[in-house]
């Protein structure tokens, strides 16, 4: 559709420096969570375990990627007066696709993520990218931009998830087929057992399982990122 409207000589699926930047920028200089500070709600809520964070990240990457692609394909046909509603329809239907697919493939994880899958619709990253990028760019680039932002979001989600799960539950990937027990007593903390993994004396930190911990961790990540990447520091 859009390709015929805009006559262009360059190949459709070009992958040069600019395209690479679209993917890599959101991972660092323009990270949706640590720099744009979007999508915080779900980043706080689902990251108490790594496995749900991972599934959530995949779901968001899918939604940002394809909503950008479809919006960009339709961008010259979308009436400006109702563009946000149209974007919402696209996002909402993709989220429904995710929901139906999860129910079909892995019901327990669908149960665990429960409302947060539905709440991807309100994740500011998705609509933010549609407004800022997909409405003004060609489909292929918009798609890469969406995937890139999803990756940036997912990377932070998994980092926070790993930290929270290790210190909050002493495990990694709990609930998935490759569940690992990393630190602390293997059985439990309120019934002491001598049987333990590494650092058997470690008592799980209850703060880590609460959303507040994610807030601190994200704050620390922003701090670390800014001390390395000085161009992000706002001097004014």
């Amino acid at each position: 559709m859009a390709e015929t409207a805009v006559k262009e000589k360059e190949p459709l699926f070009q992958f040069g420096k600019k395209e690479r930047q679209l993917l890599s920028d959101p991972l660092n200089d323009n990270n949706p969570i640590t720099v744009q500070v979007l999508g915080i709600c779900s980043a706080l809520a689902v990251t108490s375990l790594v496995y749900p964070s991972f599934v959530m990240a995949i779901a968001v990457i899918f939604v940002t990627g394809f909503s950008s692609l479809f919006t960009s394909m339709l961008r010259s046909y979308i009436p400006k007066q109702v563009r946000m509603i149209v974007q919402l329809v696209i996002i909402a239907s993709l989220v429904t696709v995710v929901e139906l697919t999860l129910k079909y493939l892995n019901y327990p994880i669908y149960k665990q993520l429960s409302v947060y899958i539905g709440l991807i619709i309100t994740n500011c990253i998705v609509m933010g990218r549609l407004e800022a990028f997909a409405m003004a760019n060609k489909p292929w680039r918009s798609f890469l931009d969406g995937i890139g932002n999803g990756l940036g979001y997912g990377a932070i989600l998994i980092i926070v998830g790993i930290i929270r799960e290790i210190f909050g539950k002493g495990s990694l990937f709990a609930g998935s087929p490759i569940e690992l027990k990393i630190i602390g007593p293997t059985a439990d903390y309120f019934i002491n057992t001598t049987d333990s993994a590494m650092f058997g004396w470690y008592a799980n930190n209850n703060l880590m399982v609460l959303p507040a911990a994610a807030m601190f961790i994200i704050g620390i990540l922003i701090w670390i990122q800014r001390s390395y990447n000085t161009k992000l520091v706002d001097v004014s």
Binding site: V86, T96, L100, Y107, K111, F190, V209, L210
Partner: protein, 247 residues
């Protein structure tokens, strides 16, 4: 600038095509999704008798097919509040969430009778309120209708790491094994108390930091199991009679 007619037409076509596509996808996945949910719920019930599954398996180790097979073998009566068996309903078709909205006298109680190596187990379903939202569970009783063989809980929105431990932390439900509902023929149920308090046959340790959820579990047990009281007394009577006969 787009005309109003174009805008309406555009929205109409867009929503219609999206609706058709999603309905199609739902139709394709629907059957499997319902099946998944069914198996998920059945696994939750089976986790109450995790120690008594065939071949010493754990619930996670059972295939979907084995789960449905176990349920086909079970007797699944549905009781009314007087402890009488209702005709024409299977326990697995009872939706506890819906039953809980009915007035107490009209509720139907699902019961699963499971047999393992000639021993009978009664699995009772209960439902109540936690701190944030509903909690529910399944309690398996041994053939005497008094001793708990196992318990499993689940919740809708308890705090992960605190209230959610009733499900996530296997050592909480494990404590219920061997606890008793009746004391000298009187119904006492099982209470959730502060960790470290003196242990009796009717108390389990709560979770520090989740007092309200613990109280909710105790309340749910007291009320929910009381509904089954007429039925449990019946079992106890027949058990007694049988005891006298063998003596």
């Amino acid at each position: 600038m787009f005309t109003t007619r174009y805008v309406i037409g555009f929205i109409f076509i867009l929503t219609a095509s999206v609706a058709v596509a999603l309905t199609g996808l739902r139709e394709v996945t629907y059957k499997k999704a319902v099946q998944n949910e069914d198996i998920f719920n059945k696994r939750a019930i089976l986790s109450a008798i995790e120690d008594y599954l065939p071949d010493g398996k754990k619930v996670g180790g059972l295939s979907d097919q084995e789960v449905s097979q176990l349920f086909e073998q079970m007797e699944q009566p549905v009781l009314n509040m007087q402890g009488e068996t209702l005709e024409g309903v299977q326990a697995e078709n009872i939706d506890m969430a819906k039953e809980r909205k009915k007035p107490e006298a009209e509720r139907r109680l699902p019961l699963y009778i499971y047999e393992h190596n000639g021993e009978k187990f009664y699995i009772l379903s209960i439902r109540g309120n936690g701190l944030w939202d509903e909690i529910w569970g399944n309690i398996a009783l041994k053939s005497d209708g008094n001793t708990v063989a196992g318990a499993a809980f689940d919740h809708k929105g308890e705090t992960p790491g605190l209230g959610a431990e009733i499900k996530d932390n296997p050592s909480f439900p494990e404590q219920f094994q061997g606890k008793k509902l009746f004391e000298d023929g009187q119904y006492v149920s099982i209470d959730v108390v502060k960790p470290g308090a003196r242990k009796t046959d009717h108390t389990v340790d709560g979770i520090s930091g989740a007092t309200v959820t613990g109280d909710g579990v105790a309340e749910m047990l007291y009320r929910g199991l009381k509904y089954y009281k007429p039925f449990l007394e019946e079992i106890r009577q027949s058990e007694k009679a049988q005891g006298l006969l063998t003596q």
